[in-house]
Structures are given as structure tokens and as C-alpha cells.
Subunit: 140 residues, 2 copies
């Protein structure tokens, strides 16, 4: 399965970077965990919610764009809806369920995008408690 990024993938991730910037500015989200006192509104879950109740066929012709490698829950949501392709900004700051996605036939494209890496590492450094809560860890 091809994993080379195309021009559209850059555009898609750029949109997810913009969403993440909005989130960061607002408090922490599109991830909206803090804004909505939510335990589940990571960026990917939030995107699925924003898309609303759509047909199974639509999911199966979709690409999920995300700034960061998806956590276990978001990986599971991608698998539930059989989204066939996931474009990931970076997986240096956090490696999520990419292996599980690939094992289930999902095409995974990792852009290793510098903006994504910078934004995430800054967030982790400045707000470690929010970050550890995001990934279900105690603050270390």
C-alpha cells in the first residue's frame, strides 16, 4: 500500500494544523477536552462529531487528517468507521496506533511535518498536565 504523501495531504494536514492552533488558543482543543470538559473529544473524535451522522459509504471514501499520531481511542474510531486512509502530521512526540491501523489495511501516511512537531512539543513543554491527561497518563 502506497504511503507517499501528495499535495492534497499537505493541504489536509495544514487544515488540521489550523484547527490545532485554534484549539491551543482557545484553551487546548480541536481537541476540545478542556473547552467542553470532555474525556473523549480528541481532535479526531471532534472531527467525527463535527461531520455528524453520515453514511458508512462516506466514511469509506474519506481520509482522516491529524496533526499527531492517533491515540488508541481515535485509532479505534478510524477502524470502527473503516476510514481507509489516515494522514498524520508527525509521530515523534507521540506514537499512537499506527501499527494497528496498518494491520487492518488502513493506509497510513506520516508527513513528519516540522510545524506539527514544533507546535506539539511546545504544548507538551508548556502544559504537561493537559498533555498527560490527553494520553491517559499520570503527570511524570
Amino acid at each position: 500500500m502506497a504511503t507517499n504523501p501528495g499535495h492534497e495531504d499537505e493541504l489536509g494536514v495544514n487544515l488540521s494544523i489550523e484547527e490545532a492552533r485554534i484549539s491551543l488558543k482557545e484553551g487546548c482543543g480541536h481537541n476540545q477536552r478542556i473547552q467542553k470538559s470532555s474525556a473523549t473529544l480528541h481532535g479526531e473524535i471532534s472531527a467525527l462529531e463535527a461531520a455528524g451522522r453520515v453514511s458508512a459509504a462516506l466514511y469509506r471514501n474519506s481520509t482522516m487528517y491529524t496533526t499527531l499520531s492517533p491515540c488508541g481511542m481515535c485509532t479505534g474510531a478510524i477502524l470502527l468507521y473503516r476510514i481507509p486512509r489516515v494522514v498524520i502530521g508527525e509521530n515523534v512526540n507521540f506514537m499512537g496506533g499506527e501499527d494497528l491501523l496498518k494491520q487492518n489495511g488502513v493506509e497510513v501516511v506520516v508527513l513528519d511535518n516540522q510545524d506539527c512537531k514544533d507546535m506539539m512539543s511546545k504544548f507538551i513543554q508548556e502544559r504537561p498536565e493537559d498533555w498527560y491527561e490527553d494520553i491517559g497518563e499520570e503527570r511524570v
Copy 2:
């Protein structure tokens, strides 16, 4: 790892049966997918949302009770928060991510509860479109 149900497990699943009955009566949810036009509020996600933002330590001392074997997304949410134990009413009408849970060290207890089986099979029979949407499938 022990997988024998105890008295508390029956009580926990009885509560989740009550929640499912409320859901069914309301329209379809605690699963609240229909009530809230949501793509992600399965019973388990809804329970995590209802619990709110709690500490990692609390999740790690929790049991998730659910009437039905959890789908891929809900399995992933259980793994994200490292919930160590899942008590499942039944897995006859749907087999979710139980293997993945066990592979990750989660204790899985399946009660094979008749009320759960009856309620779910009735729901699937009466409202197949809602059911297939729940599990990310086209109606067959």
C-alpha cells in the same frame, strides 16, 4: 487472569441494562447517537463523557460495564485510559474488540446475560438501520 463474574458484576451490568432501556425508550441511546446526532456517543463513550475529566489513577481503578461487546472505538477508549477490567453483558449479537483488550492485559468478563441478548436482538430486528449505523456498516 480471572474471568469469573461476581455479584458486583451482575449489579454493574444491571445498571448498564437500565441505561440501555432508557436509551431505547428515548430514541436509541445511552448510546446517545440519535438523541444528540452524534457519530461517537456509543454507551461506553457516553459513560466516559458522563464521568468527565478524571484522574488517570481513577480510570486505572475502574471497571467498565457494558451490555454489549465493545466496538473498535470503545475498545480503543478503554485502552487509552487503561481501564483494567470490562464486564460485558453479551457478545452473541456482536463481537467487538475483546481479543485486543485481552492482548493488552485487560480483564474481560462476559456474563452471557439473557436480558442483554433479548434487548439487543429486538433492537437489531426492529431498527436495523440504526444498528448498522452504530457499527459503521451499510444496511444489508
